[in-house]
Amino acid sequence: MEYATIYIVLAVAFGLFMAWGVGANDVANAMGTSVGSGALTARQAIVIAAIFEFTGAYLAGGAVTETIRSGMIDANLLAGQPELLVYGMLASLLAAAIWLLVASHFGWPVSTTHSIVGAIVGFAAVGLGMEAVKWGKIGSIVMSWVISPALAGIIAYWLFQSVQKFILDTENPLKNAKRYVPVYIFLVGFIVALVTLTKGLKHVGLHISTGQSYLYAVITGAVTMLIGIYAISRLRFDPKADRDFHFANVEKVFGVLMIVTACAMAFAHGSNDVANAVGPLAAIISVIQSGGEVASKAAMPAWVLLLGGIGIVFGLATFGYKVMATVGRGITELTPSRGFAATLAAAGTVVLASGTGLPISTTHTLVGGVLGVGLARGIAALNLEVVRAIFLSWIVTLPAGAILAIVFFFLLKGIFG
């Protein structure tokens, strides 16, 4: 480990680059529904995203990083040659970050999770041999690409159906909106808090019993609900606005809900996607700190999660701003009630998956959520050509990340080896 300092500097630099890309690319989509539906301005979205991405990354980001770092490749094969792991992880970070940059530039819909998984698999298959890759684990990740949009789609479908049944399809939608929207708000607070408490907080060292976490989740949900009720009570309704579109005032109530779900989405995103940026970084650091010993599992240093969080927020503030501003204009198809269903479904799926350690993509779940609302006949039209393109890009990203990682792997091996 003669170049230990250089490795760490490079790892931190690439990790930040990757986190920046995650913030710039993914967050636009994660927060896009809130901005597009008019519930938040781009500036407000950035503030919310900054706070909740960061807390999500920090509080619940631990579980997923395990899978990315050590779950996919066989650590035993690396025991004698720790440099290979370092090169590989550096190459993976750089490959994924560059692919993200290229794709963002052209506006391609890629998943950051795909990029990093593809990159790690690529380097492992070439640098260590096919047998080094735990294909079973990869299989379960691939499965999650099907399951997560499907799950989010189903949840979004039922959520929007319930919104229609309890609020929109009734005689007095506004009255019912005021009555039921706080219930949804409670639900959002409860789910996010519960999953964070039971799954995410382990690495912080907080040990609480199941009963306690339910109790805390209920409290969190109730507090969120009270804040929501207060926000709704402060809304001003304009009966004239209902003349053109009868649900204009109802949508205002949903706007409050949308803000809560946007927070949840940012939290979910941070908790899941920080892993993409810092997983390989943590692997490098653990190898170097242990003096070249490759452990199959290592503690995730808190400062690494912190670094990932900062990178995401930074990327969001510099590049995500533009993306969200583009999104915020000229989109009329998405109302807060629809956006809420799609986003909450996506956030819920991500938070759940984050707790189980599957690195699923927020992008996938969000697409699934939007499709679900569309199937409930809640969206005026869906552009299926784009949906097809999205599915295609999901497939393309994997080999792209792999090829780039292979190139960088040999490059680094040539320089340092």
């Binding site: 896009g32 506006g107 399809d169 999104v327 006949r377 039209a381 784009v386």
Partner: protein
């Protein structure tokens, strides 16, 4: 360079608001029939000519909107309303504007002078037909609310009520059409035969406005039934 969020590009262009816009244009076109008829019945041909030109312009604008919508109507299967229903409603709406232009054109082209005895009834008849198109517009304007509720519940009842009302208005126009025809029949022997022929034509076309409005409504019903 800021890439557009693809979550947003997933949303196709909705046919709902263009369809409503088109109906709005058609309605402002068909409304001009009243000032036009008033001018024509008073034999104020300069004013009639002005209104007729306005009608032609509005019809042209409606036509442009129609072409725009036809070109950009999304093809996907994930539309809340079927493509065919949208196109059919659009066609009916467009016919209303066309008919309006034809009526104004024919009256002004022939300097048509209706007998004084039927003038009031003719205006009443035309007004009722415009009530029908206005009612059709009202119903079409509910489409976005229907999408919001997923074509279910209270909103559907509301629209069904509107269409029932539209049918009632259309029945009124039919009755009025008979009355106008009777009045003309009573006077026709005193008039120049070719003129009378075209007067019957105009009466029929005005009645068509109501019929077409009703057909817009029934297309909407089909969207509900899906």
């Amino acid at each position: 360079m800021a890439p557009k969020s693809f979550v947003f590009s997933m949303f196709g262009s909705s046919p709902v608001s263009p369809l409503q816009q088109h109906m709005g244009k058609v309605q402002s076109c068909v409304q001009e029939i009243i000032p036009f008829l008033e001018a024509a019945l008073a034999q104020d041909w300069t004013r009639a000519r002005e209104v007729q030109k306005r009608i032609a312009v509005l019809e042209g604008e409606a036509d442009a909107l129609k072409k725009e919508l036809r070109l950009h109507l999304p093809r996907g299967w994930m539309m809340p309303v079927s493509r065919r229903d949208v196109l059919e409603a659009l066609r009916m709406q467009d016919k209303i504007a066309n008919k309006t232009k034809d009526i104004a054109g024919l009256i002004i082209g022939r300097r048509m002078v209706f007998p004084a005895e039927i003038a009031a009834k003719l205006l009443e008849f035309a007004r009722r037909c415009i009530d029908a198109t206005a009612q059709a517009q009202l119903a079409i304007n509910e489409l976005d609310e229907l999408v919001e509720t997923g074509f279910r519940g209270h909103e559907v009842e509301l629209v069904e009520k509107m269409i029932t009302e539209l049918d009632a208005i259309e029945a009124d126009t039919d009755a009025l059409q008979v009355e106008v025809r009777d009045l003309l029949f009573a006077k026709e022997k005193e008039l120049y035969a070719v003129d009378v022929m075209f007067m019957y034509n105009v009466i029929e076309w005005i009645g068509d406005l109501g019929d077409l409005a009703q057909r817009v409504g029934s297309r909407l019903l089909m969207m509900l039934a899906r």
